[in-house]
């Protein structure tokens, strides 16, 4: 199961990835610096993605436009998305949930590692439990 981190700041992406790794998750992590790049990544990997962490303010295509697009496509609308953003007013939070009612969470920057971990751990554990185990290779023939 893959995780996608969408943020125009490379340093912020690294910071989030560090927190995920320190929480004990060794999933493959894909990075996008705009919503447009994230759409391309999701298009190529949607069957394997278990979580998307998405910033709001980004150039080219922002996070709001990205989640609005995701909500309209049935094949990807169920992928859990957690917004990780400085957009912290009630109006913006309501706007995000209105455009993507299944949003899995909303974290306002600045956040502590514990806050991010507490939000993503249950989502990732649930996604891992739902993922069928890889088939066991047949025993070597004598």
């Amino acid at each position: 199961m893959k995780i996608v981190v969408v943020d125009d700041s490379g340093v912020q992406r690294k910071m989030i990835i560090n927190i995920i790794r320190k929480a004990g998750f060794d999933n493959e992590i894909l990075e996008a610096d705009t919503g447009k790049t994230a759409i391309q990544i999701v298009g190529m990997n949607f069957k394997d993605i278990g979580l998307i962490l998405c910033d709001w303010n980004m150039p080219v295509m922002n996070g709001y436009e990205f989640i609005a697009g995701m909500a309209k496509v049935p094949q990807v609308a169920g992928i859990p998305i957690v917004m990780v953003t400085t957009e912290g007013t009630e109006a913006k939070i309501e706007q995000a949930y209105a455009v993507h009612p299944n949003l899995a969470g909303y974290i306002i920057k600045p956040f502590t590692p514990d806050q991010l971990r507490a939000k993503i751990e249950p989502i990732l554990k649930l996604a891992q439990a739902d993922t069928p185990p890889a088939p066991t290779p047949p025993p070597p023939q004598a």
């Binding site: 125009d8 700041s9 490379g10 340093v11 912020q12 690294k14 910071m15 560090n18 303010n57 980004m58 150039p59 953003t85 400085t86 957009e87 912290g88 007013t89 009630e90 109006a91 913006k92 306002i108 920057k109 600045p110 956040f111 502590t112």
Partner: protein
């Protein structure tokens, strides 16, 4: 120049955002009050001219817009955060990621400015003002002489010092016309006093 009530709200909101950002991101508690001055904006061809003082090595700039009615070139406010080298290094250290050079520190300064500006607008909404939209940050390293679209003529310069040394400086300017107090219990809006 004396601060009016709107200026005081802006300063209070920005101070809270800066305090919270340093406290959560760097586990650092800013002590003491900053100096606050209301100054004329340096303009060139009716644009906001960012000229970084030599004491600072990095400068991050973000703009504010009110509503979607404005043209794409219209900017209703601007914030510039200036970082001395040692403060930028201090911030980067707490972000706790491997550095691949100056570009990463520039990126971190931009993200820090983004968090301060985002926190500032949340504080402003909590102080009763209508919400502003923010741009993505642009960060400069070394010499800066850049023009931005903002056309106002006054700004607030807020300077923090630590043990007498410069710690952080922000320039903040918002067009008073877009500092609109939300009406309580009705749709009628009341514009700020400083038209």
């Amino acid at each position: 120049m004396e601060l009016n009530e709107q200026d005081k709200d802006l300063v209070r909101s920005l101070k809270r955002a800066i305090y919270k950002t340093f406290f959560i991101m760097c586990k650092y508690s800013i002590e003491g009050e900053p100096t606050v001055e209301k100054k004329d904006i340096i303009q060139w061809m009716q644009r906001y001219n960012v000229v970084k003082p030599v004491e600072y090595l990095y400068a991050s700039v973000m703009t504010f817009r009110y509503g979607a009615k404005k043209s794409v070139y219209s900017v209703d406010g601007i914030i510039v955060v200036y970082y001395p080298e040692d403060v930028a290094d201090f911030i980067f250290k707490y972000i706790n990621v491997a550095s691949e050079g100056v570009d990463d520190i520039v990126d971190a300064c931009g993200e820090f400015c983004n968090i301060i500006a985002g926190g500032f607008k949340v504080e402003l909404v909590e102080a009763g003002y209508e919400e502003l939209d923010i741009s993505v940050p642009v960060t400069f390293y070394g010499e800066v002489n850049e023009l931005f679209e903002y056309r106002g003529d006054k700004q607030l310069e807020i300077t923090y010092r630590k043990e007498g040394e410069l710690f952080l400086m922000t320039d903040l300017a918002i067009d008073p016309k877009v500092l609109i107090k939300k009406a309580v219990g009705g749709d009628k809006k009341e514009e700020g006093a400083n038209k």
